[in-house]
């Protein structure tokens, strides 16, 4: 049986790291570490709020979001969003 790489666990950054401001259709997120401002649309604010409750794998996060939302989209789409956020430093992908 081939060994699949374990799913990463995604961690929200420490609370004071990101400064978030809703702007009608988008949120503006200032990352104090990088000095970058990110303009984010759905589903990013929901993802960040859900991760604030604690680290989660993509599958766990899907469950968490499904508690509060009627999800449109597959797990693969959520993985793509998480990978994008990890690449920007807005979430941390770790082995645990």
């Amino acid at each position: 049986m081939p060994d699949a790489a374990p799913d990463p666990v995604y961690h929200a950054p420490p609370a004071a790291t990101l400064l978030r401001t809703p702007l009608d259709l988008l949120d503006a997120i200032y990352d104090r570490r990088s000095g970058l401002t990110h303009l984010v649309g759905e589903p990013v604010p929901a993802i960040l709020d859900a991760l604030a409750a604690g680290p989660a794998s993509a599958a766990d996060l899907m469950q968490r979001l499904a508690d509060d939302y009627a999800i449109e989209g597959e797990l693969a789409a959520l993985r793509a969003r998480l990978a994008e956020l990890a690449a920007l430093g807005l979430v941390d992908a770790r082995a645990l």
């Binding site: 649309g41 929901a46 939302y69």
Partner: protein
Amino acid sequence: MSDHQDPSANSAQSPAASRRRVLQLGAIGAATVISVRPALAQTAVSVMTCEIPVPDPSRASQYVAADGSLVAPGTPGAVPGAAMPFKGEDVRNVMTHGGRLPGTTAEQNEAYVNYIRRLRSGTGGFTCFASIQMPR
């Protein structure tokens, strides 16, 4: 004359689930974040050679803890600062692809990378670090 639409009064029958907001996860290939550059003076060329000292020269005598904070020399679990500053390109490669900063042990690498992640405006190396964060 307005139509008064009466929302369902049978709240006992409607579970919270049916009133949940829709959340669209988006297309797999699409990018959903636009990142705005800060007004910094680094050019693309200088990103490769700009340097990040660990730690900032004004605090060179301090040690770096595993979480990147600066602590008193000799603190258990902390490592001395790096002898030489790191190149922006090397830091970007490590943060993008993993691996270790040149010449570091695993312990040093973890401490230094976390130190760099915590850099703030005004600390040496911040401008270089912010430049390597630029989306392509």
